[in-house]
């Protein structure tokens, strides 16, 4: 009886403490009258006649990044079993809903507020005070989409066995703290961007900030959770657990690719930076090269033309080009994409070999290729574009006579990103595991499908679901 009491109390404690802290924070940061801020936009327009172009572009780009949530939803649904689809849709919807609110309250300020020793931001909580300004709101809009993208990457790695409540709490943690603090170090004027190597660590649209962080947190989740029932047999051999719809998976990849034009080209943060044309072309070619490369590699290994791998390859190419997209020439984008495509296939097979169950390949696609994207900047940057502007200093990599400086800065950031995400991820999921009495659903629920256990209903109650492999223990 005593242990039951303790478990019930600790299960309520975590959300209570989190809720209380947010309320306290809100009270402490009561809005003060705006001084130099421009909430109506009138002053900003007077000062900057080009503002309308920028605002239109950024808002459209933000919407493009937002639709990537739909892309992830379709991709994870397609690669997982029908009995878990409600759960996947719930996680996908709520990591945006909860994550964006957490980012609004706390995360954005930590990421972009006035820097405390290059470690984290300290102003701008709840977008209040002199944050109530059209320019700040515009930046927030764009950035919140990126935070949500990082959050949703993890859903794939922890799919089909994570308690949904644990996922809600994780969404708060990643968007309130884990993602923004690292993001501050790279995009918020923090210490990684000021490294004395090359022009400091750079990451144009977030191979590291978004994808590596998401991918390695996904790895942490997969490690703490353990593999799905039936994924590995007694001897450690990996079994295929086929997803329920390659149609959804493919649709998801097309939507993601479409949204990526906003993700990469929008990161110019200005319609006047015509480099966006180069960025968009690089994005396209890297995705294509990734798909072709993955297909070739998987065919060499298994003699089959596997569409799931080709789809992952396209995304891998996109992840890989996300950091270098503004700084490389088209041929380099093809190479970067092709390498990414190979990395994802080998990554998926490797994870199977070391008995880590990653249902959709999130760790290989986003984690490994996030790192590759960061390093690629240090190799292929050709010195024709600067730091989000046409003026110097330009970003130059090893292959263009820039020396190893930029590559070193990239490597440091890559190691930091992976370690930060993996370590904090392990701590977070382990804490949740203890606080919630286990973050994994009970075995019977996992076998029946999370839709029934967690959500009280199936995704397809009146649509025939035929399981080709119903007689195996999974």
């Amino acid at each position: 009886m005593a242990t039951l009491e303790i478990r019930r109390r600790s299960r309520r404690t975590v959300p209570l403490v989190l809720g209380a802290s947010l309320v306290l924070l809100a009270l402490l940061m009561l809005p003060v009258p705006a001084l130099a801020a421009d909430p109506s936009g009138a002053e900003t327009l007077l000062e900057n006649p080009d503002a309308p172009l920028d605002y239109v572009w950024i808002i459209i780009a933000a919407a493009l990044v937002f639709i990537m949530q739909g892309g992830f939803a379709m991709l994870t649904a397609g690669l997982c079993r029908a009995k878990n689809v409600v759960n996947l849709m719930m996680k996908n919807l709520m990591d945006f809903a909860i994550g964006s609110l957490a980012f609004f309250a706390v995360g954005y300020a930590l990421m972009f507020g006035s820097s405390k020793a290059g470690l984290f931001g300290t102003t701008g909580w709840f977008l209040a005070g002199d944050q109530y300004d059209v320019g700040h709101y515009l930046l927030f809009l764009f950035q919140v989409m990126f935070a949500a993208t990082a959050a949703t990457i993890v859903a794939g790695a922890v799919a089909e066995r994570l308690k949904v409540k644990a996922y809600f709490l994780y969404s708060i943690a990643i968007c309130a703290v884990i993602y923004p603090v690292y993001g501050h170090w790279v995009w918020g004027g923090g210490w990684l961007s000021s490294l004395p190597f090359g022009v400091g660590h750079v990451d144009f649209a977030g191979s590291g900030v978004v994808h590596a962080v998401g991918g390695f947190m996904g790895l942490a989740g997969a490690l703490v959770l353990g593999p799905r029932i039936g994924k590995f047999d007694r001897h450690g051999k990996a079994h295929a657990i086929p997803g329920h719809s390659m149609t959804f998976a493919a649709l998801g990849v097309f939507i993601l690719w479409f949204g990526w034009y906003g993700f990469n080209a929008g990161s110019t943060l200005s319609a006047l930076e015509l480099r966006s044309a180069v960025i968009a072309v690089n994005t396209t070619l890297a995705a294509s090269a990734g798909a072709v490369s993955s297909l070739i590699v998987i065919h060499r290994i298994t003699k089959k033309l596997d569409v799931g791998m080709a789809l992952n390859g396209a995304i891998a190419g996109l992840v890989g080009i996300t950091a270098p997209c503004a700084w490389v020439e088209a041929w380099a984008a093809v190479v970067i994409g092709a390498v990414a495509g190979a990395i994802v296939v080998l990554g998926v097979l490797l994870l199977d070999r070391v008995r880590v169950d990653d249902p959709v390949g999130a760790v290989s696609v986003h984690g490994l290729n996030g790192i590759w994207g960061l390093l690629a900047v240090g190799l292929f940057a050709d010195g024709t574009y600067g730091l989000y502007t046409t003026e110097g200093p330009m970003v130059v990599g090893l292959f263009y006579g820039g020396g190893a400086g930029q590559l070193i800065a990239q490597a440091i950031g890559a190691v930091v990103a992976a370690s930060w995400a993996l370590v904090l991820g392990l701590v977070l999921f382990k804490l949740l595991d203890l606080a919630l009495g286990g973050i994994r659903v009970p075995p019977q629920e996992e076998i029946e499908g999370l839709d029934i256990g967690e959500h009280g209903g199936k995704a397809y109650p009146n649509f025939t679901v035929v399981d080709e492999l119903p007689y195996r223990e999974s």
Partner: protein, 113 residues
């Protein structure tokens, strides 16, 4: 009255049905089933990992005929149209039926078949 149950390849069903209709037996019940006798399963692949499908999809055709004499032609029609010569062609079972009732009219016995 005899019941004829035939487990056949799904792709042979329309040919079998036409043959039975020509013989004067348009009525039947179909069930989608899985099974295997000696036929081996199928090995497929998903994202680099293989998996084996043990039980293969088949179709079970059931119909009831009036007398033992009718069994022969029906069984031959089914078998001739179901046969491909490969393992997995299926089986036909014949059993005795005690009673048949037509729900709409309440008739029973041979006139209800």
């Amino acid at each position: 009255m005899k019941k004829i149950e035939a487990i056949v390849r799904p792709e042979r069903v329309s040919t079998i049905k036409e043959a039975l209709e020509k013989l004067g037996y348009p009525g039947m019940t179909l069930t989608e089933v899985k099974g295997h006798g000696k036929q081996k399963g199928l090995v497929q692949q998903w994202r680099g990992s293989q998996y084996r499908i043990e039980f293969l999809p088949k179709v079970k055709i059931e119909l009831v005929v009036e007398s033992a004499e009718s069994v022969g032609p029906v069984v031959n029609a089914i078998a001739a149209n179901a046969r491909t010569g490969e393992a997995g062609d299926g089986k036909i079972f014949v059993s005795e039926i005690e009673e048949v009732i037509r729900i709409r009219t309440g008739e029973h016995g041979v006139s209800a078949v």
